[in-house]
């Protein structure tokens, strides 16, 4: 596409001419990437707040006393596997295989729901033990950061079911393929954030 610009005097300037607007797939994917980056910035605020407030337990329990790393490990595995399943769904969408697409999406959803169940039980048990978010600034920051990620996963699962229904009803239309691209990006981004949550909140937090 690119060509070298030539001035009126015939000198080559070596400028690569811009070829014109990008394709719809690139525009959609690019815009969604930018959204994800902004979302990561929002998370980074919650991370910053957690880092500031980590030691502010107000005489209440610390991370080391509260976190059960075994559960967190299971959560992590569930989420990483769900990303793998989501990748499979993307491949199935690329080759337009309805059956394997739906299977892979169901597996993604089941793993995502497993993650959410474990997280929900962790939250419930903390609150039952009197270590809810109102106990101390540390716990406020903890519940907000981890809960925000959980909310993203929940929204992702709602999106996932909508996506399944749409592919079932409309097939692999170009605009639906673009939407699937965005969903896959979203789901993988949640993994990236979880890796940071796992390291900063649970690993560093249980040392504190």
């Amino acid at each position: 596409m690119s060509m070298v610009a030539v001035t009126a005097h015939g000198h080559s300037l070596g400028i690569v001419e811009h070829p014109g607007p990008a394709s719809k797939r690139i525009i959609t994917g690019y815009g969604f990437w930018i959204f994800l980056l902004s979302d990561i910035i929002m998370f980074s605020c919650f991370f910053a707040a957690f880092a500031v407030l980590m030691g502010q337990t107000a005489g209440g329990p610390t991370g080391a006393q509260l976190f059960e790393l075994r559960n967190v490990a299971i959560e992590t595995i569930a989420l990483l596997l769900s990303s793998f399943a989501c990748g499979m769904a993307s491949i199935a969408a690329d080759v337009r295989n309805q059956f394997w697409f739906q299977v892979a999406m169901v597996v993604t959803a089941v793993l995502g729901l497993a993650f959410l169940t474990i997280e929900f039980r962790e939250f419930a048990s903390l609150i039952a033990r009197g270590a809810g978010p109102t106990r101390s600034a540390f716990l406020s920051a903890f519940f907000t950061l981890v809960g925000c990620h959980g909310l993203h996963v929940s929204a992702g699962i709602l999106w996932l079911f909508t996506m399944m229904a749409q592919v079932y009803a409309k097939g692999f239309r170009a605009d639906i393929q673009r939407r699937m691209l965005c969903f896959a990006l979203f789901w993988h981004a949640l993994d990236i954030i979880w890796v940071a949550v796992f390291s900063v909140v649970y690993l560093l937090g249980s040392m504190a």
Binding site: A5, H18, P21, S38, A48, P133, T144, A169, D175
Partner: protein, 665 residues
């Protein structure tokens, strides 16, 4: 059933908000009644409310900003009026009402005047300057606008149902915590900004993607008009800064609604974290506002000096430098926090460094004018007025960037004068210049020059008469946000500022008159050429107002100042290329944005008043709206080549007849 909402929420005992609210309500109802009776409703719905055309959305953003400017301006008149008479007396505004007014004034002016004004102009102009047919995400664009309007609506509802925050335009804890602000005022603030913040973020994503991915053939980065560059920088800042605002306000919401301890005094909360986070958004925010204004001035100065912009590349560099450095100065908003001399010194130096690229810009504009054939039209007056005013504001800014000086001036009226100096002198002068400059492009006729010039002089002089006294009063130790005062030395300055506000108000009235008179006399002010200012960039190469598809054939760009080059070639009689018209695909209109904002309004209002069942209903409604949108089968329609050709030939014939008429004289 209705949460905290009872009939007591309507402030029957306070005449000012009630009368103001009543007048606004009657005005809205009258306009609605007129629209319905005159049968304009289908037109409004089809052509504006559901429109996904970037030009229409840009105009609606601008209109929202201008209406809200009148609201924020009324607050300003009330405040300055109060202080002009409140020497050793209570004035006419009780403290709890005065506090709401200064909070609402700041919130409205930043979020619902300056933001929609710059976003509106960027929306309207940028695709035209890039030589393309629309933005990257047209429907999302509409969603973004309507969410911004939702935020503005919620702020205005607070006038008559409940009250607004009394905490200042940034709700510093612990004052904004439930303990000290138990009423719904802060909640109105929080939810309207959360909702409009989503709208702004959407606009930012949209415009960055547009500039980076949707440019016409040959529109290399270093051929983009300066306004596109400043749009890019400003929207990059939106994407990086607005999530911080969303997160910070979310933490305050959690504190207030669920008893969390982010910023509370007890249980380990850290209120200085709020200051850090909010200003990590807040300082980039001022550059989000002023960078597009810099872009407007670049276009205006270059056009009306009849010269290409001086130092184009240094201007690009300065813009992007400001974009980066603006994230490294936030602590200068609270030097008095006591972060220690080293930290304060670093942020003080960074704050002075950011004045350097701004200085580069000023010199570039001056050198653009130097040796040029300058036409002092209204936009150019605003641009020159800006240069003088902004330099003064910049100098006082460097002054408060010195930490020891700041310890004396912090939270004084000197600071108030400084930021009004840069925001009015920078942003407001800029958007006014842009509004007058691009108005003929949007509507096909010019604004009345005479009235515009009178408006400029009243505003320009009124600005100085209002804010120079505030610098003086600040030097005399007067702090901001005082409802009354007992010190005699301040009194004359407060009266002078009151007089200045009267001048500013007259200026605004002239601007309203300019718009009304121009609409009434639009036939004499009509622009048939599409290029009324003899300008340089691509938006002037199409008709005024542009057809829905902007360009019949997307232009191919070979140089900077692309349209100037085209005109020069045509003037030299170079043969025009044969035009091959193709059918054009355009996005279909969609009510998604409007319906979504409807549910956002319901959700926001019921969150403020703790009406939980309605919150759930609103969220479900918004989700259903998106699913319905996602389910539609065709999102585009085709304009046949013959229709494109008809529209374009008409435009070309009109222009040609003008050229031959001019040639025969």
């Amino acid at each position: 059933m209705f949460g905290k909402l009872t009939l007591d929420a309507i402030p029957l005992s306070q005449p000012i908000p009630l009368i103001a609210g009543g007048v606004v309500l009657v005005a809205i109802l009258a306009v609605l009644a007129w629209v319905v009776i005159a049968g304009h409703l289908p037109y409004l719905w089809k052509e504006w409310i559901t429109s996904v055309d970037h030009k229409r959305i840009g105009v609606m953003y601008t209109l929202l900003a201008m209406v809200m400017l009148l609201r924020g301006g009324s607050d300003a008149i009330l405040m300055r009026g109060q202080l002009a008479i409140a020497y050793q007396s209570q004035g006419f505004l009780p403290p709890e009402h005065y506090n709401q007014i200064f909070s609402a004034h700041g919130t409205i002016m930043i979020f619902f005047v300056a933001m929609p004004f710059v976003i509106g102009l960027m929306n309207f102009v940028v695709p035209l300057q890039l030589g393309v047919r629309d933005v990257a995400f047209p429907t999302l664009n509409s969603v973004g606008f309507w969410l911004t309007a939702t935020g503005a609506l919620l702020v205005n509802i607070s006038l008559v149902v409940g009250e607004f925050a009394r905490t200042g335009w940034l709700p510093y804890p612990p004052l904004s915590e439930l303990t000290y602000s138990p009423t719904v005022g802060v909640d109105y603030y929080l939810w309207s900004l959360e909702i409009s913040g989503v709208g702004t973020l959407v606009a930012g994503i949209n415009l960055v993607t547009t500039v980076l991915k949707i440019r016409t053939k040959g529109m290399n980065y270093l051929r983009m008009p300066m306004f596109c560059w400043t749009t890019l920088a400003s929207n990059l800042l939106i994407i990086t800064a607005f999530p911080i605002l969303t997160a910070t306000l979310a933490m305050l919401i959690l504190d207030r609604y669920l008893g969390f301890h982010f910023f509370t005094n007890e249980a380990g909360g850290n209120l200085m974290m709020f200051m850090n986070l909010i200003w990590a958004w807040g300082h980039p925010e001022v550059y989000i506002l002023v960078l597009p204004a810099f872009g407007i001035f670049s276009e205006v100065v270059s056009t009306f000096s009849g010269k290409p912009l001086f130092g184009y590349r240094s201007m690009v560099l300065a813009t992007m430098a400001i974009c980066v450095i603006s994230f490294m100065v936030w602590l200068h908003h609270f030097f008095t926090m006591g972060a220690g001399p080293n930290v304060n010194a670093i942020f003080g130096i960074a704050s002075m460094i950011i004045a350097v690229p701004t200085g580069v810009k000023i010199y570039n504009w001056l050198f653009t004018m130097y040796g040029g054939r300058i036409r002092f039209t209204t936009p150019m007056l605003w641009a020159v007025g800006f240069m003088v005013t902004f330099i003064l504001g910049g100098l006082t800014g460097v002054l408060v960037a010195v930490p020891p000086a700041d310890f004396l001036l912090h939270n004084s009226l000197f600071l108030v004068a400084h930021f009004h100096n840069v925001i009015i002198g920078g942003v407001l002068f800029g958007v006014f210049a842009g509004y007058i400059y691009w108005f003929p492009k949007a509507f096909g006729f010019r604004l009345h020059e005479g009235l515009g010039k009178i408006a400029f002089w009243f505003n320009f002089i009124g600005f100085y008469v209002t804010f120079v006294p505030l610098y003086a009063a600040g030097m005399l130790g007067m702090t901001r946000r005082m409802q009354h005062y007992d010190i005699y030395e301040w009194r004359s300055w407060m009266i002078a500022a009151g007089v200045g506000t009267a001048l500013l108000s007259i200026g605004v009235l002239f601007q309203v008159a300019q718009l009304v008179v121009s609409i009434l006399r639009r036939d004499e002010l009509r622009d048939y050429t599409g290029d009324p200012w003899d300008a340089r960039s691509l938006e002037w190469s199409t008709a005024s107002p542009p057809p829905v598809f902007n360009f019949a054939v997307m232009p191919e760009v070979k140089t900077e100042d692309a349209y100037w080059e085209m005109k020069a070639k045509a003037a030299h009689g170079e043969p025009q290329p044969e035009i091959h018209y193709q059918p054009i695909e355009m996005p279909r209109n969609s009510p998604t944005g409007f319906v979504c904002a409807f549910f956002a309004t319901i959700t926001g209002f019921s969150l403020i008043w703790h009406i939980w069942w309605l919150v759930i209903a609103g969220v479900i409604g918004a989700f259903v709206t998106f699913v319905v949108f996602a389910w539609r089968d065709s999102d585009e329609y085709e304009i046949p080549a013959a229709e494109v050709e008809r529209v374009d030939r008409e435009n070309i014939a009109e222009r040609r007849s003008l050229v031959t008429a001019a040639g025969s004289v």
